[in-house]
Each structure stands twice: as C-alpha cells, then as structure tokens.
Symmetry: C2
Subunit: 345 residues, 2 copies
DNA sequence: GCCGCGAATGTAAAGGCTTACATGGGAACC
DNA sequence: GGTTCCCATGTAAGCCTTTACATTCGCGGC
C-alpha cells in the first residue's frame, strides 16, 4: 500500500507531460509565456498524477513562508476564539496560512514561540502570553510581531480595543441609575485590560464627585472566582448595590451568587459584564455588557503584520478599536424589546 | 533599518564559530558526536547572532513539514474551539505545529483545503466542512486525513463521540420523569451528529412502548432558530411537555421562548441540551445536557494522524468516544447541590 | 537564402538544511 | 616509532521550487 510515500513532484508532472520542470512551474503558477496547448497539457498531467506543490520548497525559494503565527493562552473563552477567527479570515484573504500556539498550561511558552518563528514570517502575540524579554528577543531575531490586547511595548505594533472610556461611561451609567456603592470585580494585576477598565471605573467616580469607589478592586477572572467573590460581598450587611464585573464570566458567577442569596437583579443588585459573550442576552435578566470588535481586532493585527512582513518600515502603530456598551436589563434599564425582536408582522 | 532582512543562516553561525555548517547542524539539533567545547561555542554563536533554523529548508530536507492542518467551520461555538485545543495540545506534545482553516462563509472550501495540503503532513477534517469528493481527492493525493465528527467514509480514519446511546438514555430519562410528549429540536439533515441523536431519541420511544414521538423533528441549529421553533411549539394548545434540544444553543433559545410565554422550566416544560457549554450550569434552572470529551476528541485525532504520517498502514480506525449525561434541574430532576458546591464549613 | 528577432522552452543555480561519506589527527597498541 | 582505529570535523549532495539566462525554432525582412 504505502499510500502516501513519494508524493509526485514537479519532475513527475514534467515527465508525464513531456516538458521540463521550468515549463511546469510556469504553466502552473506564473502567468508567464507558455503556449496555450502546453499549458493545457501540463495542467492535465498535474491533475492526473495528483500533484501538489511542496510548500517547504516553495517557501525556501521564495524566502517567505507565507504563514503567520498566533500565540494565545487558550480558546475556552469566546474572546480569543473570536479574535483568532478574525486573524484567520484576514490571513486567508491575504493568501497566508495561520499557525497557532496555545500557551496555557504549557511549560515554557518561550520555547514554543521560538519554535514557531522557524515556520512563520511574523507573529501575532496575545496579551500576557509571553514576557517582555521574549518580545525583545523576537525583535532581535527580526521576526515581525504585532501585540494584541497587550500594553504597549516600546517600538512594537499594538492592536487593542478601547477599555477606559467605555468603563468610565458604564460606571457613570450605573451611578446615574442611583447605584451609589459599586464594587469592581476583576483581576487588574494579571490582565492589563482589566487594569484599564478599573482606571475608567475610578475616573467615573471622581467625575461624579465621589472620592472613590466604596470597595477596592476584588480579584477574579473566572466564573468560579466571580461566584465566590460575589457571594462573600453580597452576604455582607452593607452590601454593594451594583457589581461592575470585568468580564461576562465573572458576571455569570455573580448572577449565581445573587440567585442563591435570593437577591433580585437589578432590583437588589445591578450587575454588568464585559465582552458580550453570545449567551449574555440570554442571561436572566439579559446582561448589560460591553462589546468588543473581536474579529476586527484580529483582522487589523493580521493586516498590520502582513505590511511589516512586506517590509513596511513605518513608525510603530498603536491601533485602538472602539467598543460599544450594550444596554440590557441587568444594569437597571428597562428592556425595550424582546431579545430577538420578533417581527410584528 | 530593514530590520528583518537577511536573517542569519546556518552559515552565519558557522562563520561566527569558526566551524563548518555540518558541525553547527550537529551541535544544535543532532545529539551526535561533537566535542563538548565545540558545542558550547556553536550554541554561543547561534545565540549571539540570533539564529533560528529555517523551517522550510528543514522541512524540505526531512521530507516532512512537521505540521498538521485542521479544517473546521468556525470557532464561534465552544465545541470546535474545545476540540481544536485538544488537537493543538497533542500536536505540541508530538512536536508538530498546527495550521488552521475555517471554511464558514468562505468561498470554495475546496481550494482552501488543497492549498493547505502544500504545507502540512496530514489533515484533521471536521464534520461537513468539505464534500466527500474532496476527501477522496485527499486520499488520491496521499495526504493522510482523519475525519472528526463526521459519518464514516469508506477507508478513512474517523474520530467521533457517542451520540445514539446517550440520546436514548436521555430521552428515556425524560419519559421516566413522566413527560410523555417530547419534541426534538435539531437539524438532522445538515448535522450527522444530530441525526444520530434523533435516532437514539426514537429508539427510546420505541422501547417505552410508544409508536413514535409526538412531534416530527424540528429543524434548528442556532440559538435564534431554537427560539423561534420553541416559541411556535409552546404557544400551541397541545404543547409538548419536554423539549429535547440537539445542542445547548438551541436550548438557550428555548429557555427564552418559555420565559416569554411565562412557562416554568421544568414545571410546565422540561428542556435538555447537548454539549454542556460552560454557561449551561448557570442557566436558570441549570441545564441538563450531555458532555462530550472535546479535548479528548482532538487529542485522539492528532495522535491518529501522526501515526498515519509516520507510516502506520493499519486498518482504518473508527474511534467512538463516550459521552456523559449531566443531570441538572431543567429535566425535572431535583438539584442535589448548589452549582459550585460551596464548602459548608 | 540568410540574418535577426522574439516567443517558447530548456538548463542550471540558488535557497538553508541534514547527513552520508571523506578526511585528518591523536591515542593505543605492538 | 609505526600502524590501527576511532572520534571530531569537513565536504558535498540532495530535498523541490522558482527564475535568470541560454538555447532553439520559426518566421519576416532583405
């Protein structure tokens, strides 16, 4: 059997069509001068023998892999998956392939990333997956890199979505609803995005004439942690009237805690999230949250990277994409329409 | 500047260390005989000049790309993302890279897949992303392929998770709860998995001595569709007492419909899902659903593929991974413990 | 009828790496 | 001290493409 040994090469096709390998190459890829009849014969032969060009040989000759790498922690949250899809879509459009590397729970992300650089023309690096020194090393090596949702590193291209302004607006919105004591739940230390949201949260308080929020930030990142933190918080006698959760997972945990304590949302406690995960509109009540342009983040990163690979030597870019607050019911707003806006015939 | 022109090659390192390229190659990759001091010198030089081997050249020489490709529709549902993470994890462990290709909303998935074959040693192909003819073409080309969650194609390796038995057990469970009229919501035509679940659903009815279910299968795949179908169904006078939803998204839509009609779950209508998405436990009431071993599916596929790439010529494998029903409250079961089982200290 | 020219095709080199084979030099042995 | 052997290292071929340059062929112009 040995089904997949000895894949046909350009020589196989050349022999089959009775021409030289140069002609085969020209007929198949180049639009260059080949007699029409020859071209037809070559194409036929290549189909007959089942020829596929060898990407490695091609890459070696062209001095370009035609691939980019994406480094992310994991895909368990829709956030990374959404951005990755954006990268993939744009890369495909640009004729590039996408290699992926998940760092979470992996020993030595450094080595993982270094290995990747052998096979790609450039790298999209997410958040805090690799330390700053690694970024520096990539630059030293000459691997173009775009940082995604990561605080700026000097001289590197960065694509992020807006955090501070939306957080400020959302916190202000909660204050306007009359919720004077709001707790912020999120991990500002490990997530730079969270840190910016916290900063906007603080700003809203100052602008409202408050010295500061009623609670310090409370560390959480996952649903479980959100549940635990919220449970502790809401069980207190002097509990907060609103929970500003740094992502929707945390908010989901907070919902559970509230339900368990028989607190109504938003009547007894308002809750907001961040990310607008697909299920957010199906929370009960529907979750007020902030939508990030996930795919767009990925697209921008891919396009930027491609430009660098092509030799663009312009100033480092720092793209900041706008976010959008999605007002639903959990903040205290009246729900204006049904989740799916069923057509009223 | 021209930051990333002329990456250092093995010649650069050789010159810097004052040895031949063969010695560099041996010192860096082979564990073969190189004097210890020479090795140290080479490693130092390679670090100094920022050398990274060129993957294309290496692949060309080794006649192996060291990469596998994964073809999936999209990553918007946790299902694909979860399996992809499994593939990635296993591939990494096996020293392989992973290339991705999303087909959804892409014109000509055929071309996409063919292009991929230039850069990979083998392919993991999801569900109904590409037609059977494409699978045949891949075989003809000699690209090892593993099918994932796709009905068997003659002679091809397949990895799937169990559907029929769990669906039968779950339907039987609903019948035991006393829900005699159950509607199945899912698209059996476009999703082979759904078709199997429908088959198990039917079997449970027959075993319970019923001629058949009270409703024919009702086509839906997304949340929106689930909402619409459920709304129509539950508004009828003689409405079903249980909804067997073919995935959790549909179930989420059904929840919304029920809430809108002021029907209690599971009191007025029981609802079950499939997939156990992360938020399922946070539905209100928590959703009874079926958990698939997502990562494990990916791991098995990657390992199987690797074996084929390595030349394993054994009989086609048809792996069937077990699923697990997760009983929560939406089917009518009493909730035994709180979602997070808070320690009762 | 010969020259020159352009179109079509062929020849060969280069791209970076691994490795079979060749080489050289020192240690061990007699 | 010479021979042998082995270890460390070097030389060069080959993996498959693309493409610059060379070659061939046919045809028009004189």
């Amino acid at each position: 059997m040995r089904a997949h040994r000895n894949r046909p090469t350009i020589y196989t096709v050349a022999m089959h069509a009775g021409v030289s390998i140069a002609t085969v190459s020209r007929a198949l890829s180049g639009g260059s001068r080949v007699r029409e009849e020859t071209e037809r014969r070559v194409v036929e032969s290549s189909l007959k023998v089942g020829y596929r060009p060898n990407g490695a040989a091609r890459a070696l000759q062209r001095l370009r892999h035609g691939s980019i790498g994406v480094v992310f922690p994991n895909l368990s949250r829709p956030y990374y998956a959404g951005v990755l899809m954006g990268v993939e879509e744009a890369a495909n459009r640009l004729g590039l392939s996408v290699l992926i590397a998940g760092t979470q729970g992996r020993p030595g992300p450094e080595q993982l990333v270094l290995d990747l650089t052998s096979k790609v023309d450039g790298l999209v690096v997410f958040g805090r997956t690799v330390p700053d020194e690694m970024i520096a090393e990539l630059r030293r090596q000459g691997t173009p890199t775009v940082l995604l949702a990561r605080p700026r590193v000097d001289g590197e291209d960065t694509v992020r979505s807006e955090n501070r302004a939306s957080a400020r607006a959302l916190a202000a919105h909660l204050l306007e609803h009359g919720h004077r004591s709001i707790a912020f739940i999120g991990d500002t230390r490990s997530s730079p995005d969270c840190a910016e949201r916290w900063s906007g949260f603080l700003a809203a308080h100052h602008e409202a004439g408050l010295v500061g929020p009623a609670w310090p930030e409370l560390s959480a990142l996952l649903e479980t942690e959100g549940y635990q933190v919220a449970l502790r918080l809401l069980a207190e006698g002097d509990r907060p009237r609103a929970l500003f959760c740094a992502n929707d997972d945390i908010a989901a945990g907070a919902y559970t805690a509230a339900r368990e304590l028989k607190l109504r949302v938003p009547g007894d406690v308002a809750i907001t999230g961040w990310d607008d995960v697909p299920t957010a509109r199906y929370f009960s009540p529907p979750l007020t949250t902030v939508r990030q342009p996930l795919a767009e983040l990925g697209v921008r990163a891919a396009e930027l990277l491609q430009a660098r690979v092509e030799g663009d030597e312009g100033e480092p870019v720092n793209a900041l994409l706008p976010t959008e607050i999605v007002f639903r019911a959990s903040c205290g707003c009246r729900v204006r329409r049904r989740p799916r806006g069923g057509a009223s015939s």
